[in-house]
């Protein structure tokens, strides 16, 4: 393990290693930030599972931003992730209870633009559920081929041998056919059948 929880990690280092998805960094974030967020969510009518989900979403947002090199902090990392988690949880509460919880507009948080990040995140979340539905409707072997290529990141060569295609070219042809069908399903779906998880 490159870092342990007692060692302090500069925020810049932290973001760099987060972008690479190092597990030691994730452990570091978990140990340093999760207790605060857990307490916060718990105080705001949330269960421990709610707290963990919120934390996971917050880390995902930061990970994607770090990966895209869009994470430029104006405050401490721990403060930022706590603020993101707070907004996520308040949004969830609002939707869950259908109550008009107004999202807090602290000056600091507005400057960071957390709400934009969160709305992008929700759009992605929505798309992911759409995608999952489409993949479920597309049928085999398309689902497996697409999953293998786009999710498991297998090479066309591997896919060809795994699914019994004579060569990679054939597999590629199959992949594009499947992709076309997926595209049609994905974008023609007017009413998205919502996933169990609501955001």
């Amino acid at each position: 393990m490159a870092y342990n929880s007692t060692q302090t990690l500069s925020d810049e280092q932290l973001i760099r290693s987060l972008a690479l998805g190092e597990s030691s960094t994730l452990t570091f974030i978990y140990k340093n930030c999760y207790p605060t967020i857990e307490k916060m969510v718990f105080k705001m009518n949330g269960s421990l599972d709610d707290a963990y989900d919120t934390f996971q979403d917050a880390v995902t947002i930061l990970y994607e931003k770090a990966k895209a090199d869009e994470l430029h902090l104006t405050c401490k990392f721990s403060t930022y992730i706590t603020a993101v988690a707070k907004h996520i949880w308040l949004n969830k509460l609002t939707k869950k209870k259908n109550q008009s919880f107004s999202i807090l507009h602290d000056n600091m948080e507005d400057m960071i633009g957390i709400n934009d990040d969160i709305s992008v995140f929700y759009e992605f979340e929505n798309n992911v559920s759409k995608l999952t539905n489409s993949l479920n409707q597309i049928g085999e072997p398309c689902k497996s081929v697409l999953t293998a290529f786009y999710i498991t990141n297998k090479s066309m060569q591997d896919i060809a041998s795994e699914f019994g295609y004579t060569n990679a070219e054939n597999a590629k042809t199959q992949k594009y056919k499947c992709l076309n069908r997926l595209r049609k399903l994905f974008f023609n779906e007017k009413e998205v059948v919502r996933n169990e998880r609501t955001y």
Partner: protein
């Protein structure tokens, strides 16, 4: 179909940023000219981003889940260890607690009982001491009594009658009523210290119911000079008087006033007092405020409460004249309590007023 596939390949290549600059430029120009291609690119981009997001999310979720799980397990292990150690030491701890409780209870009880015993023992020893002191005192008294010549011990039986007598000389002459001692030979007088002395009747006055006793012990002497005086003085009505007598074993004080200068049925040797009296005070002195003995109580009116008769001191003084030579009447004129307060007078007089008891 092949065209389609080729287009897709290009679109994906473009979206993943795998084209070189030249290729990219041509493709972008084609995108501008062909809106269908543009839409395709946009849609493909969205799909790719969604896949990407899905992957990212999966990645973070998996990584965090394992960390979370580990942490949770760690906490559970800690809790288990805590529980285990509690279980492990529970018996020992409870036994220790029981022992401590019992020990403290026993200590408390023992300490309490020891303390109680102690105080009782002290109390008893104190009583024992008092008893031993009493015994010593009795022994001393008896010794003293034996040493004194002609000492006759006080009879053990209860006395027949008792009255009051008061000293008229330092060497043991006492005045009392004749009716107290008349017909008895065993006459004892008890001084303030509780010691009984046998007395003999020296002089009597049957008319005035007076008797003068003498303590038989030749070396007997009162502790001091007689504080009061016995003088003939004119009696005035409403003159305040008091008396000291023995209606019971302890001396009793009473006060009243002269209500008549004559006694029962006009007896001029006596006078009448408004003063409560009870059996046993016969022979008690009537003393005025200046410490002068005016008379001796002799009786009371049976019908009315509070009326007491007293013999005038004149009769006593007359009787005193018949006494033998060892009696000195000079001291009867002196009065050492004249200026004292009432309680001061009584403190002085008290030792000279005695119980007179007669036995068969």
């Amino acid at each position: 179909m092949n065209e389609h596939i080729n287009t897709y390949e290009l679109v994906e290549k473009y979206c993943l940023g795998l084209m070189d600059d030249k290729e990219k430029m041509f493709f972008e120009i084609e995108m501008e000219n062909n809106p269908a291609l543009d839409t395709l690119v946009k849609e493909h981009k969205t799909l790719l981003l969604t896949f990407n997001h899905h992957n990212n999310k999966e990645f973070i979720s998996l990584a965090l889940d394992s960390i979370h799980q580990q942490h949770q397990n760690h906490t559970q292990i800690l809790l288990k260890q805590l529980k285990l150690s509690v279980n492990k030491y529970w018996r020992t701890a409870s036994v220790a607690a029981c022992v401590a409780l019992m020990a403290s209870t026993f200590t408390f009880l023992i300490a309490r009982s020891v303390y109680k015993k102690d105080s009782r023992a002290q109390y008893q020893s104190l009583r024992g001491e008092i008893n031993s002191i009493k015994k010593d005192q009795k022994a001393i008294k008896n010794e003293v009594a034996k040493v004194k010549k002609n000492v006759v011990p006080v009879p053990n039986e209860p006395s027949q009658f008792s009255g009051t007598g008061f000293a008229i000389s330092k060497n043991g002459y006492l005045a009392t009523n004749l009716h107290v001692v008349d017909g008895f030979t065993k006459i004892f007088t008890f001084t303030e210290d509780g010691v009984g002395h046998q007395c003999s009747v020296i002089a009597t006055d049957e008319i005035n119911d007076l008797a003068i006793l003498k303590i038989s012990e030749p070396e007997f002497s009162f502790s001091g000079k007689i504080p009061y005086s016995i003088r003939k003085s004119s009696l005035n009505l409403a003159h305040r008087v008091y008396t000291l007598g023995f209606p019971k074993n302890e001396i009793v004080y009473n006060e009243g006033y002269i209500s008549s200068v004559t006694g029962f049925e006009g007896d001029t040797n006596k006078f009448q007092l408004e003063l409560p009296s009870s059996p046993g005070v016969s022979g008690a002195p009537i003393i005025d405020e200046t410490g002068n003995v005016l008379g001796i109580i002799s009786g009371k009116q049976s019908q009315t409460e509070g009326i007491t008769y007293a013999i005038r001191s004149k009769a006593l003084l007359n009787l005193v004249k018949t006494l033998p030579k060892d009696f000195t009447s000079n001291s009867l004129q002196d009065n050492s309590v004249k200026g004292r307060t009432r309680s001061g007078q009584i403190t002085e007089i008290q030792p000279f007023v005695c119980v007179v008891k007669v036995y068969n």
